[in-house]
Amino acid sequence: MSKNLAGQNSTSARELELYFGPQHLGMVGNFSITLNVEGDRILEATANPGYLHRGFEKLMEYRTWIQNFPMVCRINVVEPDSMEMIYAMGVEKLASIEVPERAHYIRSIYLELARVGSHLFGLWAYANMLGFDTVAQWAMYHRDLILDLFEELTGGRVYHIYIWPGGVRRDFPSGFKDKIVNTLHSIGGCVPDYDATFFNNRLFYERAKKIGKITQEQAKQWGATGQTLRATGMKFDIRKVEPYAAYDKVDWDVPVRKDGDAYSRVWVIRDEMIESVHMIFKLLDAMPEGPVYNRIPNPFKWKIPKGQAYVRCESSRGELGLYLVSNGGDKPYRVHFRTPSYPNGLIVLEKLLKNASIADVGNIMISLYVVAPEIDR
């Protein structure tokens, strides 16, 4: 890192407080970082969440179990689907609701589509930040194709409200399997273009290599999960560790990289997208016929027995956890989310920004895949 600070070794130079965000071109989301800089070198970085606090966890205590479904997805704008999944898992665990086999497959396919869509969105942000506008536009376009699939399946483009306790809200419409396959083939067909223009591009290598480096030990200690952890060589994925939905029904692999820097993290994102696409094809082939929904009790009378549950799933950014408490009533007593961007965006980010250069703030932050609405709930 000293490489970036050539000629800046005097600590007696004037320190400057610099606000990075919330209104900043390099910032994605309503989030800010206060930087203490000396020249181009960051002495200290303080992450400032709080611009996007909507009080979801509290609001959910005032809504019935089913009324929370349209709400919970809004916690994460980029990938609302894993939020639906985690809440459905929590409710199903507390209320002992069985999910039909086909619904498990549909959930997995749906979540993997969401992962691809989310990663494309992440790629847009990262490429955009590095100045690869063309690649960013491609990613955004391809994400839109995924949204078209969601629209067809669920009726909504961004907030799908599709995973439901007891299964999913509707079965696949006719011909939907082929549409998924066609869309994924057309996106997959562009992978060589992405590789040629971005992933194998020397510019990307020079900008991202050795930036924001984190060791496996540090990642574990700081609570980082997802790409941040997997980029340090650790094969850790909740889908493998504690399989849910239909993730244990097909064969797939967890992509990892060893170096723990921004370059590795972005490559993990790329590899995961490709792995997800392969997984969707396998799930589509293995998907059984049958019902997709076990009816939940009458929502006006639905009370969930007293108890508490902690459930976790692998969102596109890492381990997503939900702690759900019921006191036997028709509404949750307490809801708490453990979102992957929380450690990534607050702890890891602050540590990695220390001694980095100002030009790399966006690089590090976006490579950590921070989604601000997840931090502020």
Partner: protein
């Protein structure tokens, strides 16, 4: 690291310029609004509501997580409580709506849907509240695709036939199917008077109670306005005592009503539109049966005695209810009835397989235990004179019902039997010796009772032999006044039906019934809907049978009333006793209710009448008490 660098160097430095190719390809973006993408078939856009189907139940407003839906009264629409239709319709606030579609999945009628429209731009925020009304009747806002333009798209300019996210019973938030009521199968039940309906277990009752959406359409349909959703909720919450208390607020004879009520509530149940109504009657029966002792469960508080005395003539559902409500208010009530026990028509009419005597006595005994005096086996006009009662008591309630069976008055009909004496003797006397081939004249519920009872007697009296019971009714299948349920159950037991035939003459040979000759019915009602049957005289048939029972309706018996009182009693054009809003007849101090007053002719309406008249009597008695 060195290797990686090498790997990267392998790629041509020009390879990123591959992207230039895309410059020569067709653009992927749409030039909106000149080009637009068709929303998906399931798209969740603005609401559509079929006003013809919508019942105004308000479940959409209840489930909305954002309070975006408000039920507004539409004065042009007619409320039809007996059909479960309110003149309220949902109004959307699109400033709040999040298009989740919970309202669609909870809509029991399936009227509320989401369309594929999603554009509304306006300076006036008031335009964002919107009353969805079906496109079929709204020609102003819903335009055919030729007249529609995306450039003007708004809530006031929408495309016709543009349905998106729609209700689907497989994914609905309510359970459309009822918990099956355990019953004795037809082959078994027709051999004895065993009660056909076994009754829900606690788990089954809870499961059935859990289906109720609490929209309260049933409460408006019920003549006595029972707090149905409250007592069902109490069952669901495992509080049978509270449920019983809720029932007793409006209906003091749940054990009887839980078996034979005509269940106007279930006809209005919003779940019955696309599924099966909540089994409200069976749930009431469950509560009544599961509580051994009403008195401890109810913890009733009786008012201080007022010293006023009220005579109730007739211990039927109306009379019993009147006695209950007035006793609670502190008045002394004496109930007169010619039968040896309480229940009135309930005691003699519904056969034991539908309403056993024990179920009646449970309700009657409870009312007696509150201090009501019952004088059974007492015939007014014979054992005690009406004028004496009127002198002795501060008020008199006539709950006499319709107790005389009507007859067809065809030739040789004196050889036939009448429904009520037949039912009465079998239920509270000794069983009548029946024939092997019985013909029942009539297509109403009493005719079904008679036929099904006769069939049981045949099976009991001629075990193993071939026996037949058939009904003949003027009305065809679709007009038959008996409930569908009764007809289906009778069919399952093997009753034969001859709908659309009018009895002409009882065929007699050697003084014994040989059969019934019938003539084909052309129409039953005239153009004004009045009963005036016409026949095809040339189409005749003869039903064979050795016993004929007439069950074509009942009439009230006013013979106990002395002439001077009967002359004072005024009747409505439909031959019903005229009462005022307090239930008082044109004879002062004399109140009336039940079958002689209302057109419904059922127990729950009699209870409703009694409740109203009890208020009237109480008001009158209180007024006379204070100087």
């Amino acid at each position: 690291m060195k290797n990686e660098k090498l790997k990267i160097k392998k790629g041509s430095i020009l390879s990123p310029f591959k992207a230039v190719n895309y410059l020569f390809k067709k653009p992927r973006t749409l030039r909106y609004p000149f080009e637009s993408k068709e929303p998906a078939l399931r798209y969740r856009g603005f609401h559509l509501n079929d006003w013809d189907k919508c019942t105004g139940c308000g479940n959409c407003a209840d489930i909305c997580p954002n309070d975006a839906i408000e039920m507004v009264e539409i004065p042009e629409l007619e409320s039809k409580p007996e059909q479960g239709i309110k003149n309220e319709r949902p109004k959307l606030d699109y400033g709040r709506c999040c298009f989740c579609g919970l309202c669609v999945d909870i809509c029991p009628a399936g009227s509320l849907r989401l369309s594929r429209d999603y554009f509304h731009i306006h300076f006036d925020t008031d335009t964002f509240t919107f009353l969805p009304k079906d496109e079929k009747s709204d020609k102003e806002h819903f335009l055919s695709s030729e007249n529609y333009s995306i450039l003007k798209a708004s809530l006031a300019h929408r495309k016709q036939n543009y349905e998106g996210f729609s209700p689907d019973l497989d994914y609905s938030l309510f359970e459309p199917l009822r918990t099956t009521m355990p019953e004795v199968p037809p082959e078994q039940r027709k051999l004895s008077f065993i009660e056909q309906v076994i009754g829900y277990s606690k788990e089954e009752a809870k499961k059935e109670a859990s289906r109720c959406l609490e929209c309260k359409l049933c409460e408006e349909a019920c003549p006595a306005h029972l707090k149905i959703s409250d007592y069902i909720k109490a069952i669901y919450e495992d509080k049978p005592d509270e449920s019983l208390r809720k029932i007793f607020e409006d209906n003091p004879i749940p054990s009887i009503c839980g078996r034979i009520c005509m269940k106007h509530c279930e006809a209005a149940c919003s779940l019955s539109i696309r599924g099966e109504a909540v089994a409200i009657r069976w749930l009431k029966r469950f509560v009544a049966d599961s509580i051994k002792d009403y008195k401890t469960a109810l913890e009733l508080k009786q008012a201080e005695p007022t010293g006023k005395k009220v005579a109730v003539i007739g211990a039927g559902p109306g009379g019993l209810s009147m006695a209950y409500f007035l006793t609670l208010k502190g008045h002394k009530v004496v109930v007169f009835d010619s039968l040896p026990g309480g229940g009135g028509m309930m005691r003699i009419g519904p056969p034991s397989y539908r309403l056993p005597i024990e179920a009646i006595d449970k309700d009657v005994d409870h009312i007696a235990s509150l201090g009501v005096e019952f004088r059974f086996n007492t015939i007014i006009g014979k054992d005690i004179l009406f004028e004496d009662i009127l002198k002795e008591y501060d008020a008199v309630y006539l709950g006499i019902g319709t107790t005389v069976s009507r007859s067809t008055k065809i030739k040789n009909i004196d050889k036939a039997r009448l429904a009520l004496p037949f039912l009465q003797q079998n239920k509270i006397g000794s069983a009548i010796k029946v024939g092997k081939e019985i013909i029942v004249i009539g297509g109403g519920n009493v005719a079904m009772d008679v036929a099904r009872e006769a069939l049981r007697l045949q099976h009991m009296q001629y075990p193993g032999e071939k026996v037949v019971t058939k009904t003949v009714s003027l009305e065809d299948w679709d007009e038959m006044p008996a409930t569908k349920e009764e007809i289906e159950e009778a069919k399952a037991e093997g009753i034969q039906f001859n709908p659309g035939w009018g009895p002409k003459e009882v065929e007699v040979e050697d003084g014994r019934v040989k059969g019934l000759s019938c003539v084909k019915v052309k129409s039953v009602f005239d153009e004004q809907g009045r009963f005036s049957p016409t026949f095809y005289e040339e189409k005749q048939m003869c039903l064979e049978g050795d016993m004929i029972i007439e069950a074509i309706g009942q009439a009230p018996d006013f013979s106990f009333l002395p002439k001077e009182f009967f002359e004072k009693l005024e009747f409505t054009p439909r031959r019903k006793v005229k009462v005022d809003e307090n239930g008082m007849t044109t004879i002062p101090k004399v109140f009336a209710g039940g079958d002689i007053v209302n057109l419904n002719l059922d127990a729950v309406t009699a209870i409703a009448d009694a409740k109203m008249a009890a208020e009237g009597i109480h008001k009158m008695l209180c007024a006379s008490r204070s100087p």
